[in-house]
């Protein structure tokens, strides 16, 4: 095999991985802020994809569709946080986990009720003509996804590092009581976290729509996103993104080297191995909890 073949595979893996990275990011942000892992996050991506479908059926151009999808995602996230998450946030872990699952299931079945199982296709913003440099080919839609992922990661990273609400969120995640005493509104932090993560989720849906088509099963992406988040250590923004890209590369290379069955199994085997031996991931901070 020539080296360019592997480079080509790596390009494919990174483009797939970018989507996982975005989903992982949208999982990690509220987890970092409020300790809630949203298992319904995939369905927020599905919602984003359908929002893009509706808006482009109105004939809006892509540069208007994209911000509207992100804004509607944020709005839905805020509503879910206020109506469904805040009442159970102090409940045992089991209740919160199952509640987020139930929210996802409700969204998914509502979408299936309205639009049915028929997949809709949408065109990417830059057409399907592959770009060729030096004999390496890349789909412009995939490049656009990678670009957006890099931009969002930088934005989120900067937000947590420099912006006031971002710093407040970090304080809340370290010690909610001390943060309250310093005048930080905990509920405000949670609101920010959910709005942001749903916006990122909706963006992920918008971006993958041209690649995987729009159907109620888009939310299944969350499974790979979760593996990516665990790989990255659950509390690390950059870890989640790197984890996503690693999962994408793993799948692509496993598919070529070892076949389809291994490709499908690989992310989950990695997940179980990680949870067994390194539950804090490759980049996360070690959380010691012995019984």
């Amino acid at each position: 095999m020539p080296a360019s073949f592997y480079v080509q595979l790596a390009i494919a893996g990174i483009s797939v991985g970018s989507v996982y990275a975005l989903i992982a990011l949208s999982i990690v942000v509220p987890f970092k802020a409020s300790g809630v892992l949203n298992f319904g996050q995939g369905e927020l991506a599905t919602l984003g994809a359908y929002a893009a479908l509706v808006l482009s059926q109105f004939g809006l151009p892509y540069y208007l569709v994209a911000p509207l999808v992100i804004a509607s995602g944020a709005l839905i996230g805020l509503m879910i946080e206020r109506a469904l998450i805040r009442p159970v946030i102090k409940a045992p872990a089991f209740t919160v986990i199952i509640a987020t699952f139930a929210i996802g299931l409700a969204i998914k079945s509502a979408i299936a009720l309205h639009w049915g199982d028929t997949p809709y296709g949408v065109a990417g913003p830059f057409g399907d003509e592959p770009l060729v440099f030096n004999g390496l080919r890349a789909n412009p839609t995939s490049l656009w996804i990678v670009l957006c992922t890099v931009a969002i990661t930088a934005l989120v990273g900067g937000f947590f590092k420099y912006a006031r609400p971002g710093k407040a969120m970090r304080a809340v995640s370290i010690n909610p009581e001390a943060a309250t005493l310093m005048g930080i509104r905990i509920n405000g932090s949670y609101r920010w976290a959910w709005g942001m993560s749903s916006a990122i989720g909706a963006l992920a849906g918008l971006l993958v729509a041209p690649v995987v088509g729009i159907n109620p099963e888009v939310g299944g992406l969350i499974l790979r996103g979760l593996v990516a988040a665990v790989l990255g250590g659950f509390t690390s923004i950059y870890g989640a993104v790197i984890g996503g890209i690693l999962v994408g590369l793993l799948e692509t290379f496993a598919a070529v080297g070892l076949g389809g069955t291994v490709k499908n199994l690989a992310p989950f085997l990695v997940l179980l191995l990680l949870l067994a031996f390194r539950p804090y991931g490759l980049f996360g901070s070690r959380e010691i909890h012995r019984v």
């Binding site: 987890f31 892992l37 298992f39 469904l84 009442p87 159970v88 409940a91 872990a93 089991f94 209740t95 986990i97 199952i98 509640a99 699952f101 139930a102 929210i103 299931l105 409700a106 998914k108 079945s109 509502a110 299936a112 009720l113 499974l223 979760l226 593996v227 665990v230 389809g260 069955t261 499908n264 199994l265 989950f268 085997l269 997940l271 179980l272 949870l275 067994a276 539950p279 909890h289 019984v291």
Partner: protein, 318 residues
Amino acid sequence: MRTPNERTLLCIGAAAALLVVGALVGSYPAYLLGLAMVNVIAAVGLNLLVGNSGQISLCHSSFMAVGAYSSSLLASGAGLPFWAAIPAGSVVAAIVGALLGLPARRLHGIYLALATLGFLQIVQIVVEEFADFTGGVRGLNTAKPTLLGSPLTSYGVYCVVAIVCVLAVWLAINIKRSRIGREFDAVRLSPHAAQALGISVARVKLTAFALSAAYAGLAGGLFAILVGFIDPNEFGIAASLRQLTYIVVGGLGSIGGAIVGAALLSGLPELLRPIKEYTDFAAALVLLGALLFMPHGLASAWQRLTPKPKATWRGVPA
């Protein structure tokens, strides 16, 4: 509340009543009742793990799949009769449950949820990809159960399900009151205190996983002979959430709650038959509503109606 002998007599009475009811109602209602009893077995098993020992499992339906597929394959491949194949399937599920319990011993909260979710995916993929054995996504027709050379009638299958269901419930009641059940409670209420009292938390978690997997495997094997057809869709994440809904609605940790929850909600798809497409949505709303407004389930409502001056499953108030 009752002596062990009274409880056993009550179970025998329940079994007799179920057998009579199954003979009186038509074959379709009996089939639905059979499905409800399969769900009761699965829910009671899940409740031992989630409600009593306080663990999180999103892969109960996978253990059901392990039981269903291994008992069906043992029956068709190795020619085992159903009365040997179904317990064997349950044992296989228990072994797989113990294997999953090994890494799960050290996990809690979301990490446990993630591990069990990953396991569910692995089982789904294995069933779908190894189609030569499992029939893949097209499903598997299971062998007709026979007893002493003659095939079982649908009422015969109903009787098997009813008797096993009552036995499983009777066993669960006694497990809950045994040393193992008390250990489950201790681990749920405070793992640290349990460990300090000399209970090996790791061993208890392993026992809980294996035991609940055995129940799920039993339910899976019975499901296979009752329906006569199994496919991976039947054992996906939706099924796991459905089983969790049974015990959340019924009341975590309460066997009566699990029975009532599973029996009531098994009727939901029938009730919504005219508006069938709303079933999934309704199921999600029931689960969400129960978590938000009735976190202790129907069992706590029952306890409020019949107050007793004694410790409940939630333990003695501190």
